[in-house]
Symmetry: C2
Subunit: 504 residues, 2 copies
């Protein structure tokens, strides 16, 4: 980097913020994986202390002075250069932090904790009305937050920006509407095809220690580096990139349902490969950080679905799978197994949904949370609206709210604007994958012989190493040559499932 | 506490220091138990950041002002009250911190890291001369540190104070000399007794998962609370009290040597029971903190040896042990097992030594490190002096320096003054145990029926809950009615081993 003392101060400051953040991430990982039950309240004090330390630094008025000075410097002239991206992204974060009053930040923190607690109880008791007041408070505060931050089009834009910066509701709505129009008939055709996989195959007994060994070996083979990471067990799987040389993924095991852990591990390993692929020399600075949650999700979805649920992948892993699980898989053909792990059917629970119906679950949430924030829907009417949409898009209706509107933790924890990033992940993944194939040729041949390095290296060069030097939208265009479009994902799903379900 | 705003500020400050310290302890626990290999250097940055944050706070000049004001207040009048002890101990720490110049602190930190690295290599290559320059630097710096802190009698006093505050070299020397005079002939008599346990019994195959289950169950039974703690695996076992509700112990397993893990777990659980017994309402303040390393070690040694290696303990656990390890212990009598776990013989390695010879290993180190610091011994002459003392006190001579003077990490990591706390732990343990028996009656009858709560509750009331309201010496006198003396430990060892080895 050029020798500019103000820029150096800015970078040192950002690195210190990230260092504190990395400690907080370890505390949170430990809380979910290791912490003894009685340690919870003291852990909250530790995390609160570190958050406070970071908040002080992030709103330090010196930051504003440095950024003002640097805005005029030649370092800022190329927005995609290391220096330009650093200045642009730190300016962006500083401006946003300053717009939200401290009381609102604190109220949101408090209500999101209370909201989660209320949600846990409400879900357990299948009682939406007990959750309604907490959710109402959260929706009101999120509306306030949206207005404090400001927006050009709709308030939801301001919230979306926390998870998918630089994108717009209108843009995502249009793409997801096109996707919905393609998916609803496809899912219906599949349901009417009369073809059914033997679902029982993946529901036999798969001993957990063997699942762990197989999953870990597959994660290593696609490129998750265990010298720089680890795999543990939690109820809610996640990936935490805690700093250079330390990225941790988790999973959960179900002895009688093979896909949970195996595809869960591939998914988290995909997130992990992105984290491990960031440039450590820019740790703590935007060029060494992931672009958006949607881009992050594109990496996990690619390894989980486009790679892990492909026939070529299983041509490579099938002999190993049969050796490790002789009782469950000894008498199974690869074709039957491949069909069983690609079983498409409308279901109630998002996290258990298949590759084709998954996006319909997301679209429902995206439409509902927009309506809540933009004041087109009252919180009290949410359960009915939920059930209407499930009937319309998936042809099924939740028998209760616990398996309906209460199934996800997001709204209770004030994460409104998060859901669309899951579908954006699927869309980005297909568009990137298509670009990779265009450049690398037929990737299935590589997977078939256990070569995952070609794809991984391509992702590393084109996505991981870019960090935040490009926004998500810019990155898609840079990598694929066109703006985000649903076509690659629709094509992938059509090709795959028309063949599998023998549709006309 | 009385309503004194200055005292409140002092306490808030101390609690914040402890909160940061607790985060650092988690980072260090994680480093030893969980951290992926490549995460080491970033972890060092995280720990350095927190140390710096704490150093700033510990030398904050406002502390000096508050303490000066409080020294004159009625709160300071009773040195054993919560307020008096808090003021006294924080004053003590502040004064000491201010005496050591920052350059010396930094030099010691640096040389202790380099010293450890040099020690690892030297031990591996059995090459003392390669370690000599690093050790020389450390000894020089520790002498400087002693002179910076100041002392009345000998420089070693100032170093001892870091680990066993308020004690003196002369006092410990006299007690350990008396102990040595009793132990050297006892160990010789045992060697000449002609009696030998069947050592092979504890060297059979003890499957590691069963050792883990048995050890964890025994730790829980003596009172380590797993709702507020956990047990993991490390190469070098330790206990870390990380704050209210979170105390973690570790162990290592040797399939073919039962005592390593089992007594190791009881030892660490003893430390853990002390940590879990501290008053959480005074977390971060001296009344809620352990007194000294010697007192800490008294708790681990008591549960490991006075309880765990007693015949009564095994009368309780023997049926369970035979059920869990049918192959190894099915044909063994309780008497033979009891003898095998109390096998006394002169050996080279401290950490593998039995209850009787262990203190001789410590006395050797204590005498040598005093001589180094008080300039009665040159670093170059250390190996010869080491071997001379092993011949004199234990009747054996190390065949090489790796198993001799290079066996412990302490000196290379600048922990000079630490060793005597191990023997102090044994001495305190016996004196406390004698006092407990005087008050509670025959504890063996309790152990026999699995009642460990009487002893634990007694320790809790008399030691754990006292925190730092009394110094170690004051605590011993308060609990046992007399100053520290070697008699209880000597009596315990004489009684136990004269019976076991059928000595006259």
């Amino acid at each position: 980097m050029l020798n500019n003392p103000t820029f150096e101060k800015l970078c040192d400051h950002a690195r210190e913020v990230s260092l504190i953040q990395s400690i907080q991430e370890l505390l949170e990982w430990d809380e979910r994986v290791m912490l003894p039950p009685a340690g919870g309240s003291f852990r909250a004090e530790q995390v609160t202390f570190l958050s406070g330390q970071n908040h002080q630094r992030k709103t330090d008025p010196r930051l504003g002075e440095w950024l003002q000075e640097l805005a005029k410097s030649p370092l800022a002239s190329d927005p995609h250069s290391i220096e330009g991206a650093t200045i642009r992204q730190l300016q962006r974060e500083y401006d946003k932090k300053r717009k939200v009053p401290q009381e609102l930040v604190e109220a949101l923190t408090r209500e999101s904790i209370l909201g989660q607690q209320s949600w846990v109880e409400a879900r357990k008791n299948d009682d939406f009305s007990s959750f309604q007041p907490a959710l109402q408070k959260i929706v009101d505060l999120k509306r306030q937050q949206a207005h404090a931050i400001g927006f050009e089009d709709v308030p939801y834009d301001a919230l979306l920006d926390d998870f998918e910066p630089d994108n717009r509701t209108a843009n995502i709505s249009q793409i997801l509407a096109e996707l919905r129009q393609a998916l609803v008939p496809l899912v219906a055709e599949i349901a009417q095809s009369g073809r059914l996989p033997n679902r029982q195959i993946v529901r036999r007994s798969f001993p957990i220690d063997k699942q762990a060994a197989f999953g870990q070996s597959a994660a290593a083979q696609i490129g998750f580096d265990f010298k720089r990471g680890r795999l543990d067990v939690t109820h809610h799987p996640f990936c935490s990139g805690m700093g250079p040389g330390d990225c941790r993924i988790t999973t959960r095991y179900d002895e009688h349902f093979f896909p949970t852990a195996f595809f869960g591990i591939l998914h988290e390993a995909g997130h992990g490969i992105y984290e491990q692929g960031l440039r450590t020399e820019y740790f703590g600075l935007p060029p060494g950080q992931f672009v958006s949650l949607g881009i992050h999700e594109s990496q996990s979805r690619m390894w989980e679905n486009l790679v892990g649920r492909s026939r070529a992948f299983w041509e490579c892993f099938w002999p190993q799978a049969q050796t490790i699980f002789p009782t469950a898989l000894g008498d199974v053909t690869l074709d039957d197994f491949y069909f069983a792990i690609n079983d498409v059917h409308a279901s109630l629970i998002r996290v258990e949904a298949d590759e084709a119906t998954y996006n319909l679950h997301i679209i429902i949430r995206f439409e509902l949370e927009q309506a809540l924030i933009n004041q087109d829907l009252e919180v009290a009417d949410l359960p009915t609206a939920w059930n209407d949409k499930y009937r319309e898009y998936l042809g099924i209706e939740p028998p209760n709210n616990a398996d309906g509107v209460l199934q996800d933790i997001h709204w209770g924890s004030a994460a409104i604007g998060y859901f669309p990033t899951y579908s954006l992940g699927n869309l980005y993944a297909s568009q990137f994958f298509e670009a990779a194939i265009k450049e690398l040729g037929n990737l299935e041949d590589s997977f078939r012989v256990g070569d995952f390095a070609s794809l991984r290296d391509w992702l590393n060069t084109n996505i991981h190493q870019v960090g935040q030097c490009y926004s998500a939208a810019e990155l898609v265009e840079k990598v694929s040559g066109s703006p985000l479009t649903p076509t690659p994902l629709v094509n992938h799903l059509q090709d795959k499932y028309r063949k599998l379900y023998e549709l006309g």
